[in-house]
Every structure is written in C-alpha cells, then in structure tokens.
Symmetry: C2
Subunit: 210 residues, 2 copies
Amino acid sequence: MFKKFKIPDATIGRLSLYSRYLKEADEKGINTVSSQHIARATGVTPAQVRKDLAYFGEFGTRGVGYNSRELYNYIMKILGLGRRWPVAIVGAGNLGKALSQYKGFYERGFDITCIFDTDPNKIGKKLAGIEICPLDSLKEKAKAFNIELGIIAVPAAAAQDVADKLIEAGIRGIINFAPVNINTGENVMLRRVDLAAQLEYLTYYLEDTR
Amino acid sequence: MFKKFKIPDATIGRLSLYSRYLKEADEKGINTVSSQHIARATGVTPAQVRKDLAYFGEFGTRGVGYNSRELYNYIMKILGLGRRWPVAIVGAGNLGKALSQYKGFYERGFDITCIFDTDPNKIGKKLAGIEICPLDSLKEKAKAFNIELGIIAVPAAAAQDVADKLIEAGIRGIINFAPVNINTGENVMLRRVDLAAQLEYLTYYLEDTR
C-alpha cells in the first residue's frame, strides 16, 4: 500500500526540522536562505541539507539560495502537512492528558479532535477543552470528524485491543505510547514512542561509567 | 567514555518491554515464565527474546523457563535501573508541564527532582508538586540532588544554550524534546524525541495513499 519512494526515516525527521526553521525565517522577513543557514540553524551539515532536498527535486538558485516561504510550503507538502489532520487520543489518563495539552501538535497541523476512554467517571468530562468520549463511539466519531490518525495512550495490556478498534474505525496511522509492541497489519502505519525507555537508553550506558 | 559492549539499540528497547512484563508476572504470582510467554506478552518472537537475553549471559533452565523476579531484577540492573535516578526538566512550558506529570517516569525509577525556567512569572510556583527553580540555580541543584539526567523542554532557539548549561552542571545524559539537533560533545549521552515529528512520519506516508 505504501508505494512512496523509500526515503530514509532520518531524512523525513530532518525535513521536519528544516521546515520549522524556514517558517521562523519567513516570519522574521528573511526571504532567502542558503543551505548553510538551514544547516547552522538545525544542527546538520550543509551537504546533508542539499542531499535531503535532492530526493524531492531541484530547489533554489545556485549562488543565491532558497526562497524561505516557497521551500517551507514545499516541504510541508512533502510531509503531508499541506492540510490539517484530525487526531484521536485513546486513553484519558496521565499521558493522554499531557498529550492533549501539548501545543506542538497543533502548531504542526494536528488537531486533537477527540479523547476516548472506557472509564465512566471520565466520560463526559473535558481535557484541554476536548470532551472525553466513550470508546464505543470511536467508529462513529472517526467517521464524523474524518479522523485518520490515532494515538494510543492506554496501559500495555489494553493497547492491542485499542489498536484493533482504531483500525476497525478506519484509522490509518497510529502512534503507540504503550510499552508493548502491537500488531496493526500492513495497511496501517505504526510508530511506537516510549518516553521512559528513552531515559533507559541513557542509564544503560551511564550506569557503568561512574 | 562509553566502553560498554555495543548492544543494538532495539535490544535495549525490548529489554525494557520484557522487564515490564516480568514485573507484572511476578506481581500476579507467576514465578516461572518461558521465552514464549515473554514473547507473546511483548509482541516479539521467542527466538528474539532468547537472542536479546543471550547478549548478557545464560538465564533460565532449559525446559523450565526463567524465574520472573530474578530475570526482572537482572534486566533492571542491565538497564542501569538497579537504583533510582533524579532527573531535571528544563522548561516549565506546556511540554515540561506534561512531562513532569507523566507517572511512567516514576514507575521506572526516574524522579523528576527539579524543573528549571527563566521566566520570573513561573519561578517559585509548583508543577505537579515540584518547584520551578531559576535556571541560574541549575548547577547548585544538580550537585545538591545528584542529578545526572536532564530533559530539554524549551523552544528550539534556546535548546543548545540549555544543553551547554546542563553539561556545565555535570549532567551526563540528556533527552532533547526541542525540534533542533544539538551538540553535546562525546562525554554526554544524547537522545532526541520529537513528538509532533512522530505524527509527521505517518502523514508523509499517508498523504499519497488516499
């Protein structure tokens, strides 16, 4: 299903960085930037900037640079951010609460449209202005709001069941914050993010070296 | 400085998953588990479980399995989690607030000890019971509380400066949540986590396929 030309994951991540810098430059009235400018602002080498952009075509004018706003718009389009994306969070616990309040999603074009939970004490209440809805209403809401992205913020034991429900509701991309690997089949894009495990990568290396 | 035998990053991530399952099993009174049990609960193959554990020695009894509590304790030690780690968060904004409230850190042995900011309107207030301290006091607090891990939750433009201050304060492991690459030198372990970019990896692939 995902026939897109295979670009390295790291390139996608850097395009995200570049676009944030370009937006800032454009807002400051800097109309033209060089690969050196982009590189310095994002912590990569100018050659890497040029290589990453070359995957997608020819940009800029040799000896002049790139038009900030044009390149920004183009990268946003590459990233699929030429429009806003409604997002569902499942799990109105501690993490779901934190994620629903995170403005960084909104700034990049993601609207947390619904938060779902099974706890009757939570359903009907609001988190960051967004109503907590019963998990049973997932399919109906996903259809009504055109939601294609879902965030799993439930305990490990419930994560696969939630993933199955998201897929049944037509969700096509999932971020799993639960500390367990889940199976979503080949028609759904999946990424796992484990916040505590990020610290554990550090302590694994640091423990020995004191 | 990091002389530890080079184990794949993915193995470290899976050890984290295994240990969470083993804790649960032990708490449920399940004394002995097989690689099949661990595999099923964490979404990997039994062969992968055995391979990951084999990096660190011989565990378990052939035909019997592993003692849940023993293997849990051993993996926690491998991950550097045989003790609790004090952690500093820099940035008392939306994200710092969210992270300071995230219980998943505490459960794995991480104590958010201090939150630092430069905004005089925030300093002195409390987030999730933790006082917001002036960034100027970072070095002093890091020493007082033995803090070796830092989380950067400031805007991109301030991230490198904060990283420099963390390193100067003796911090040895840093997680950077700011959408910019930073330089920490070779004596500090660094990981970058970009929450919005995780969604962008999905939209990059999904945009084309509708």
